[in-house]
């Protein structure tokens, strides 16, 4: 953003002030994530930078908290990670299937009562989580699914589908329906048309909705706190109890792993977005 040469001084000054503000905000957004990396390698038990770390003394760094995370006695992280992944994967699959079907129906111009149905479908995203948590807990307790994996998976499908519905409907809004009509006129049945024509074209939207659903489930703590028993503990629940009781550096080791995971998710989401833009470019 180079300034034109005729810019007056005061606008020039304002421009640099503006850039300084932006730099500060970007720093504010991203810097907190980076404080976790070095501290997770701390050799000591305290969550502050020791003198040794400030002087870059190799002895001040160690992998002991990562070791503790994996092999520590009575440590909950293994079980929590297993639960988190199982729950998130099943919740994602469920959200994708239900959400994509619903989005296909909603994008049809024949769909009756579109407004109110859309509002119902995305309501779990608008209603504050704590209220969703209370309502879902009442339901799960009544049907006997509280403190089961199934109950938590169902709860996360509720919370995850709005993202799939929104992203897939958005992808379908740029969708050229003449290709499906062409397929039908060439003798393809609807299921075949969907699998061979529609699905490959809307796949980026489906997957990015799925990523949202995965992260929602993987990161969700409010509803799980209501539903989970001891065996259903997940990574966020363990972090929540850990942060409340005593901040141990093991949490930072876990957090570092989670940041790496979110970086991977970010990269895949970004690649998908670009692919989807390219595909839509061809359609036009």
């Amino acid at each position: 953003m180079a300034l034109p040469s005729y810019t007056e001084t005061r606008y020039r000054i304002w421009h640099y002030v503006y850039l300084a503000i932006c730099t500060f905000v970007f720093f504010f957004l991203i810097a907190p994530l980076f404080v976790i990396f070095p501290l997770s390698f701390n050799a000591e038990e305290f969550l502050v930078f020791s003198e040794g770390m400030k002087n870059l003394d190799p002895d001040a760094f160690s992998l002991r908290w990562y070791h503790d995370m994996v092999y520590g006695t009575k440590n909950p992280w293994g079980l929590a990670a297993k639960n988190s992944f199982i729950i998130a994967i099943f919740a994602t699959i469920g959200s994708i299937i239900l959400g994509t079907l619903a989005a296909l129906g909603l994008s049809s111009r024949h769909m009756p009562y579109k407004g109110i149905i859309m509002a119902t479908l995305i309501s779990p995203m608008i209603v504050p989580l704590i209220i969703s948590g209370v309502a879902i807990f009442f339901f799960m307790a009544k049907v006997g699914l509280a403190a089961t994996h199934t109950g938590i998976v169902l709860a996360h499908i509720i919370l995850g589908t709005p993202f799939v519905v929104i992203t897939v409907t958005a992808t379908l809004s740029g969708f050229d329906h003449s290709v499906t009509r062409a397929a039908s006129s060439l003798g393809s049945n609807p299921v075949n048309t969907f699998m061979k024509i529609t699905l490959p074209l809307i796949l980026p939207g489906v997957i990015s909705g799925g990523l949202f659903a995965f992260v929602t489930s993987f990161d969700e703590v409010v509803v799980v706190l209501f539903l989970a028993g001891l065996e259903n503990t997940t990574i966020p629940v363990q972090m929540w109890t850990g942060l409340r009781e005593q901040l141990s550096p093991t949490i930072l080791a876990v957090a570092t792993c989670l940041i790496i995971l979110s970086t991977l998710i970010l990269i895949s989401a970004e690649l998908l977005r670009r692919r989807s833009e390219r595909l839509r470019g061809i359609n036009r």
Partner: protein, 420 residues
Amino acid sequence: MSSETKQILTTDGIPLEVSLKKAERKNKIRAFLLVAPLLLFLIITYIFPIGEMFSRSIDDKMITNMLPKTFKEMETWDGKELPSEEVFSAFYADFKVLVEKQEQGKLGQRLNKEKNGFNSITKKLLRQIKRNKINENQSIKEQIMKVHKRWRDVEYWQAIKRTAPPYTMAKYLKGMDMYYAADGSIAQVDEDRRIHRILWLRTLEIALFVTIFCFLMGYPIAHLLATLPMKYSNLLMICVLLPFWTSLLVRTASWMILLQQQGVVNDFFVLIGLVTDDNRPEMMYNKVGTYVAMTQILLPFMVLPLYSVMKTISPSLMRAGKSLGGTPFVAFWKVYFPLTIPGIGAGCLLVFILAIGYYITPALVGGASGTLISNQIAYHMKTTLDWSFASAMGLMLLTGVLAVYWIYNKLVGVDNIKLG
């Protein structure tokens, strides 16, 4: 379609209009069937339970079912003086049924909530019945009144009568620090016990300020991202998207490390000489911590909708404004800013709604001041097990959120919400 001869027929001989309608209906059903699984799933597991929260929050059938005869006799009682012999003997009959089912304790506890002192006098009555001290051939009223002086107090009978309706708004009143007084009118809780009002105000205050901070910080960077050339803006976008995809608890943990008294932020303040080493300010376990952490966590939700709106504004509009004699500030204020209002609306709505239901981050970094309405709901759900009160507070919060949503829909239109 005035006469039969003009009607257009399909090859099957069916009028075209009918045939088209049939096809249309078929399409409608097909579209609806695609939506049906999710819709049904959500209605059963989500929408219906929210309705159940409502019935739970006003439900007061417990005593209604425990004292059916008493309430029937009480219908004719004016509630001013002690009730008649019939009411007393009906109460005695109901109570004996409860004793057989060993449920008199529940009655005592529930009535005790209505008026203090019921628990002990129901226990006393129980003891008299167990010892067969009550002679059913004599006046029950006289004998019950002898059990304890509170049974002679009309206020206790008024309290019983108040529990007669199967539904009550008491939980909602409690959520606003009000209650039903002895005469049935609505009264305020003592000034020093109005905890819920403080929580509502604090929740609102934090949500409002976090929204304002997010707007002030999000607007400039969304503008920068939208106006920079693609290759730079994609790189900077990572700064927004990485926190967006990172676990909420990870980000809260990093703020707990940064803001603690020996933390990096305080180290930095000491380094630049803002504060002295032995005088480090407390930045966590108070509102400062809550504001800072929540602003950083919710900022991406402000930036993304703003960015997607700003991206669609052509830069030539600003140039036109300037070439027509506006200074850059005027051109910005009169041309650019009004065009970004849908984005501002969407961002502010998202952040405000997320902030008002927030609970994890304030509970961890806010200390005593981090207790918000959501914490209170969770507390009653998990600790006191007063689920009807939790439901009532949840629905009050939901009403507030829906009101904000409705206002937003009137002002800006919900269709402008975009994700990334």
